[in-house]
Symmetry: C2
Subunit: 427 residues, 2 copies
Amino acid sequence: MALIVQKFGGSSVGDAAKIKHVAKRVIETQRAGNQVVVVVSAMGDTTDELIDLAQSVSANPYDAAREMDMLLTSGERISMALLAIAINAQGANSRSFTGSQAGIMTSAKHGDARISEVTPVRIREALDAGDIAIVAGFQGFNKDSKDITTLGRGGSDTTAVALAAALDADVCEIYSDVDGVYTADPRVIPQAHKLDQIDIESMLELAAAGAKILHIRAVEYARRHNVDLRVRSTFSKDPGTIVYSTKPEGSKMEEPIVSGIATDKGQAKITVIGIPDVPGKAAEVFRVVAEADSNIDMIVQNNPTGVDVTDRVADISFTLPLGDLGRVAGALEAAKATLGYRDLEQDADIGKLSVVGAGMRTHSGVSSTLFAALAKAGINIEMISTSEIRISVVTSSKQLDDAARAVHTAFGLDSDEEATVYAGTGR
Amino acid sequence: MALIVQKFGGSSVGDAAKIKHVAKRVIETQRAGNQVVVVVSAMGDTTDELIDLAQSVSANPYDAAREMDMLLTSGERISMALLAIAINAQGANSRSFTGSQAGIMTSAKHGDARISEVTPVRIREALDAGDIAIVAGFQGFNKDSKDITTLGRGGSDTTAVALAAALDADVCEIYSDVDGVYTADPRVIPQAHKLDQIDIESMLELAAAGAKILHIRAVEYARRHNVDLRVRSTFSKDPGTIVYSTKPEGSKMEEPIVSGIATDKGQAKITVIGIPDVPGKAAEVFRVVAEADSNIDMIVQNNPTGVDVTDRVADISFTLPLGDLGRVAGALEAAKATLGYRDLEQDADIGKLSVVGAGMRTHSGVSSTLFAALAKAGINIEMISTSEIRISVVTSSKQLDDAARAVHTAFGLDSDEEATVYAGTGR
């Protein structure tokens, strides 16, 4: 008997009809001879409605972070109870559990807690009794404060993966309105095709590079705990994409050189011009950025120029989340005298294109194919960074989609059929 | 420093503006030098909306009783978190607690659990830290099943009284949109006046007799644990009505002969005609009623008639909740052969009028005043029952309001001013 964890996002349980549909689907999985644990998000817009309510009684509701967690966790409580009621009405037995009841222990940080330990004793009991166990996603419990916490972005996916790891599940299925992982975002590249499988490290790189199908936190957790994921649609029977943590035994399959392409328009670039080329100056710049609470992605420093060693200056460029641009630029302006640079440039109109594939480890020639395709399409490259299995380039935001199409074609990823429409998976 | 428990019903926290108003009021109580525990119901129609949702995924949602409790308790979770957020926004510190976190332990019966134990350790901690403690009404926790329970009708009032008892609070204030306990329902008798005080036994009789201002369960709990209640309005500064469990020390106050009048149109009458007058037959009738899960209120048996001892027959009349009438009549019809009666009469159009007052214990003449007033108003009395401090009569439902007005006047309860409008207090 296999143990399967199934996670349904907010759009999959958005109304009564969808909840009944999910109930039917879950029961079918159990009747096929599996033990089933279901993780659910809050229904459709519930979370936004609760946030609106909070903002109507307080200008800064997140100041009461503990209470916001108490408020928002009621969303999953509603959806999981309704799903349990629907399952029971369709003739199967189920029990719903809050994060705390399911043994999801977390750090104490309200609104962005990390899972520290999972002790799913009650889930095991429910499964052993032949019941379907339903668990509220996105929430946990801090042992010391005895308070309810929420996991922040990607929380429900992470709940599902953490339960799958703790229960040693055979697979963790992530359901949404997308039927799998694609070679690129089909809204940008209609020729993108669905992958039958992808290794988890490539999935991690794709998620980090901006693919929205799975949250990077959940992918990281799955990789660390060797959990196999299956990404599939709530509304079709398509088997979706398997994201494997351990290569199937006896598999002779060669890893594809390029699995997919991700694009990200959510980044910006700052260039610090004419900073003295003395040891420790770059570190000072990045200390200012870190104190402004931002994460840097790519960094480029040009060759220093200057007549004399003592007045040689350099330029440092780096990318960061678009939302942090104003804050970080302000912090650097404020530190201008200390840092001693000449000028600061901000660029909000950049795009990042990443090519990801586990086969890059053993194949050369990927970068030359990439650069040739971009040159042929007349795309100017502003920055480059690489990992073992990824090459990313920064272009102007206007050229990003053209660049993605050219590269998708160059690596032979184009399909003959148009893909179904792609969408996010919610929290 | 006094410790005050304040309970706010669903209409008191019905929208953002009302929640902000309640927050202000609670903070004022704390700033006046008190420790404050607040018990809240779900916002306005939340509970009905959740029940509608459940009915949209299941024809019989209450079959999944555990899950209905999980669902419905999210209503209080939302209102208490919002109140905490509003209080914090207005510059005071507060923390909200679920029934389980507040230490409200109950029996295992979902939908209608009884409070078995209250261990408000975390509430004490919050109060000692100078915080306002907010507790979800209507919900608790069963130790054995580790499941969340709800308390059924009158649940939030009962939560407040139980916490007041466990914390040895100075008073438990029950807020609603009514500014106190009246001598009668002001919708029926506009001359009814608000009582400044009433003893808890009279309050219990009034609640049992149909007064809706306080739920009988909460009043019983308060009487058993010597908790003083104050019934008052969320929307006025009126001190309301004190319901005292222990007569104020040194009080020379005489108890009023009649404190108030309650009416109840929610009862029906069944008469079993021509049942053999042999020992055990009445018991058989009431066993059938009990097995149909109904509670009988008043019972009258007439003198048996008949030529011979062996064929003497009697008539038995009793009242029961209107909603049980069809079910109980059906059960009696089904048992007609066994019981051996001749005929069954049902009457859904009855009304019960009760006159309540602790002074009746030591004063005679109440019943003669009552019957004289009813006779003068031309009201026909169908049944009579009495306790130490109450006389109830059954009339036709059509005559009930006239009867109440006549009796209210006869006992000198009429006020010169018209009362503000009366309404229920929700769960």
